[in-house]
Symmetry: C2
Subunit: 344 residues, 2 copies
DNA sequence: ACAGAAGTTTTACGCGCGGAAACTATTGAC
DNA sequence: GTCAATAGTTTCCGCGCGTAAAACTTCTGT
């Protein structure tokens, strides 16, 4: 029966027979009015079509219900998936998430943060581009003005909290498994990783190999940017052509590199798998949405998407409730779960 | 030197020595003021840190600079890629795009449209979920209130325009190529496609086979939702187990199904490729970002991402300039480009 | 130099809502 | 039934900016 469209709260007040300040209270918090009047209001809402003007609301409210979600590269299914997860949790909590992608570009990330400032968000969840310290200041300034929680990729000391994956857990599990069931792996990575997690994974690999008393082999392939699959493929093709793999077991820094690596193996007729009749074992990290559809399916260490997104949103809500400060920087690293498939 | 932060335009007016209405004009259109005063304003902007409050601006402006971009499923790299493309073009044109994903859920799409209404966007680019007519009304109502352009997936008569891909062009090219270089294909698809494009592709396949005087074979596999790869894989496994493929050439409705199909072939030792020594040729449509990394790389008909996004944004800008109506529904279908890779 | 055009300032109002203050009505326990 | 606490009403102001009107100033072309 939503026929008459009302233009403002005043009209809705006269139409519903309830004073405007009471309506204002109701829209800010439906529980702040008596149940009987709440029922009257909600009955009126079904008869008349009225919604508060969000611009007028946000102009006057000290704290909006907006939250910003910023990811470095949305065309990467990993970020698409985690952003989806976070977005849904924010909606559940009664907030209005806005999703932004830096598309791999630092200056776009800066623009996003500046525009986000104008939205006066209650809080921001930011997965920064991993990059040199030259741009660190922009993010630092932003975090000083807006309650921000970093996720996925950490910047030491910046933001009120960091929620991420425990790269050591990822690498320890994969190296352990590969070593236990055959040979310890060499480590395949990009020479100039776009992301600090890659550096932590290499460090974890070196540490783990040291702990096992084994000699590490790091293969750093050239390439920059976000076209990881192609970089992995080209790197693998070069290594295979030169027969330069130091071991018959390869651990890739991440699944997107591994997807390219496997494509190169297929191209060159290298049989990837575990057991007799196979030339090479390949494992990786992330459990990328397509990792189960590679040929062969990829053995990998899986992110706990659910836990990371849940913790990130929970921490953000806590941060918002405690008025923008948690009293000390909170950090939480979520461990990985090993996924065994045919590639290793 | 951006030291003093000014709280509103009034303060900036006194600080810069320029009247507030003139500043207002400047921020709405920098070219609407005399070059000399424009220079004075921009000089002042470098001394003082001031940006108009976007909520106050949008409350009073009849037409905001917001544009909404709505896609059905952002975790699908196809939509991630086209959304990225569209977003960047909108920014270039001086608008503020907001990206939303329905995450495959019809009720979420409805919520998004309702929230979008509150943002009073100048225009909206909507790639609707393909679904039954029961929800058509929500979209129709929305399009009546907000200047909207549909893309990717059409709904007859809804919105001011539709920009999409020419499914017939996709299918004609792949069928032609397969037929010319070997055998005509059977058609592999989902029985209950999430998207009307799938139906058009099947129809195009039937028509093309008819035109070639050949008998068509449509293989519809069970499954619904957006996990296309798994649906394709399961369907392929069943068909291979029963040896039920009517031809040695398979044309998949889209690349995500094909990715699953290829995974199943690999699993079962079916050698996919073109020429002697291969069991099966597989081709598809879309040129999904991962199509070049499948094993073997996928022969497919590529979307012209660039043309679709460019046309969509151009049409939207035209629509906004002409005050919300183009005087008749505009439709434009972009042809495909055949990409030959090893799978067929 | 001067009329006319174009740009600028002054003044004033409005947008739709948040929120404070003072007052009135309702509630529930004694 | 009284009274205090709670909830609602009335009235008013402020938020930051768009925008209109009128007066004023500066810029054009001749």
């Amino acid at each position: 029966m939503k026929h008459i469209k009302l233009r403002n709260m005043e009209e809705f007040a006269t139409a519903s027979g309830i004073s405007r300040p009471t309506l204002s209270k109701y829209f800010n918090d439906p529980d702040s009015v008596r149940p009987s009047t709440r029922a009257r209001i909600e009955a009126a809402l079904k008869t008349y079509d009225y919604r508060p003007n969000m611009f007028a609301v946000n102009q006057n409210r000290k704290l909006t219900k907006n939250v910003g979600i910023v990811v470095p590269y949305l065309a990467d299914p990993f970020f698409a998936e985690i952003a989806r997860n976070i977005e849904e949790r924010c909606i559940e909590a009664g907030f209005h998430p806005s999703l932004f992608s830096a598309h791999g570009k630092a200056d776009l990330e800066n623009d996003i943060l500046n525009n986000l400032r104008a939205m006066k968000p209650a809080g921001v969840l930011l997965a920064p581009l991993g990059r040199r310290s030259s741009d660190r200041k922009t993010i630092e300034d932003f975090c000083r003005d807006v309650p921000t929680i970093l996720f996925d990729s950490n910047i030491e000391g910046v933001g009120e909290a960091f929620i991420g994956s425990d790269n050591a857990s990822f690498v320890n599990q994969t190296v352990d498994y590969l070593h236990r069931t055959g040979d310890a792996p060499c480590f395949f990575e990009m020479a100039e990783p776009a992301n600090p997690n890659a550096i932590r994974r290499r460090d974890a690999y070196l540490a783990k190999m040291g702990a096992l008393g084994l000699e590490p082999h790091v293969l750093s392939v050239a390439g920059s940017g976000w076209a990881f699959e192609e970089i992995g493929r080209q790197g693998a093709l070069r290594l295979l052509a030169k027969d330069a793999l130091p071991t018959r077991t390869v651990l890739c820094s991440n699944d997107r590199l591994a997807i390219g690596f496997l494509a190169a193996c297929f191209e060159k007729g290298v049989r990837v798998g575990h057991g007799p009749g196979f030339d090479l074992r390949v494992a990786s990290h992330d459990d990328h949405p397509y990792a189960r559809f590679t040929c062969p399916p990829l053995t990998t260490a899986a992110h706990d998407y659910d836990a990371v997104s849940r913790l990130a949103v929970e921490t953000l809500l806590k941060l918002i409730q405690s008025d923008g400060s948690l009293g000390g920087r909170f950090e939480r690293l979520v461990p990985a779960r090993l996924i065994l498939r045919a590639s290793a």
